[in-house]
Symmetry: C2
Subunit: 205 residues, 2 copies
């Protein structure tokens, strides 16, 4: 069960929003372990007992909020994989769009980031998420190999590992985003992906 109770949905819209807003703010500010339920209920202006009528416990509240964040991100990135013709162009689109998501929904972005920072509480969930990502990536990679875009001789697991690591860190660093140099950020993303595509080693042709 990771749904709020019926009681929560019966609440007036404004109150629901106040609770969600307070929880989002707190889970964006601190990872699950350090986030404080007491602070959330204080900010939302409700009693602690009430919260336990809406959500089974802290964990369920968190998962609900996390779902909101992920739903928004999924919506935001929906069309990135639509024309999956060019492997490298698609990856660039993906990370550029992720950056824009972080700018537009910084709190959701932070919540998702905190979730990926390893936390014992969600070890299993994270592992399965990672495997899903791996499958998606490897499917794309296969197709790119068939298209003749990607070197068929490389270790595909290693390739996923590299993209996963770099992507994670890349998105982590979106936190330090300043208004002005958006163009610079986007260029850096491209530069990083170029390094991954071309490799460091000089090409003897």
């Amino acid at each position: 069960m990771k749904l709020p109770t019926e009681t929560f949905y019966n609440l007036p819209e404004a109150k629901q929003q106040a609770i969600i807003e307070a929880a989002v703010a707190e889970f964006a500010a601190s990872p699950y372990d350090k986030a404080s339920l007491s602070k959330i209920v204080a900010k939302a202006g409700i009693a602690k007992g009430s919260m336990y009528q809406y959500f089974e416990n802290k964990r369920e509240l968190y998962l609900y909020i996390l779902d909101l964040a992920y739903a928004q991100k999924k919506r935001f990135l929906k069309d990135v994989f639509d024309q999956a013709d060019d492997f490298f162009a698609t990856l660039k689109r993906y990370y550029r769009r992720s950056y824009l998501f972080a700018k537009e929904f910084p709190l959701y972005h932070k919540i998702i980031n905190h979730y990926w920072d390893y936390c014992a509480e969600f070890e299993e969930e994270i592992r399965t998420s990672r495997e899903l990502r791996a499958n998606d990536f490897l499917t794309m990679l296969q197709q790119a190999i068939e298209n003749g875009q990607v070197n068929p001789e490389l270790n595909q697991e290693a390739a996923f590992f590299v993209y996963h690591s770099v992507g994670k860190e890349l998105i982590d660093n979106f936190i330090e985003l300043s208004e002005t140099d958006q163009a610079q950020h986007l260029q850096f993303i491209d530069a990083v992906l170029d390094v991954l595509a071309e490799g460091l080693q000089i090409r003897k042709e």
Copy 2:
């Protein structure tokens, strides 16, 4: 001041070791925030008050233990950069040796890993450590470019970013090490570094 007090050094060797061992175990099991001083003193078999005669506070104890871990790692990796002729070979040596360090000193390895997982308490320290690493890497990279090993056209900041991210994740994953497949692990490290060296894009020659 990040030294233990004189009182600590006056302690009989065995007692010092008991304290260090208990602290190492705790800081390996949990990151700084979640590590418990109470558990450490309990495991070491001393009173909490005593601990505060040896170390100013939890932070100083932690930094002392962290230093022990880093000193051991430095000793272990001492000769990796001795023959820095081949850029890619050196990097492989570095990560392979790091893996062996993780196998030989798993607790120290975990302590260092926990430290690098972003934690507000040590934000500054981590940032400066990262800058030092960046400088070292960029120096090596420069030399490799001059040697004709590395493509001079790539964005060097991006290259560091890529190596830093992948290295971090690679070393993180050493935690799940099983006795038998050491060879397999070392091969995977090589595979990952090959991906970084050669890139994913197919080479048209």
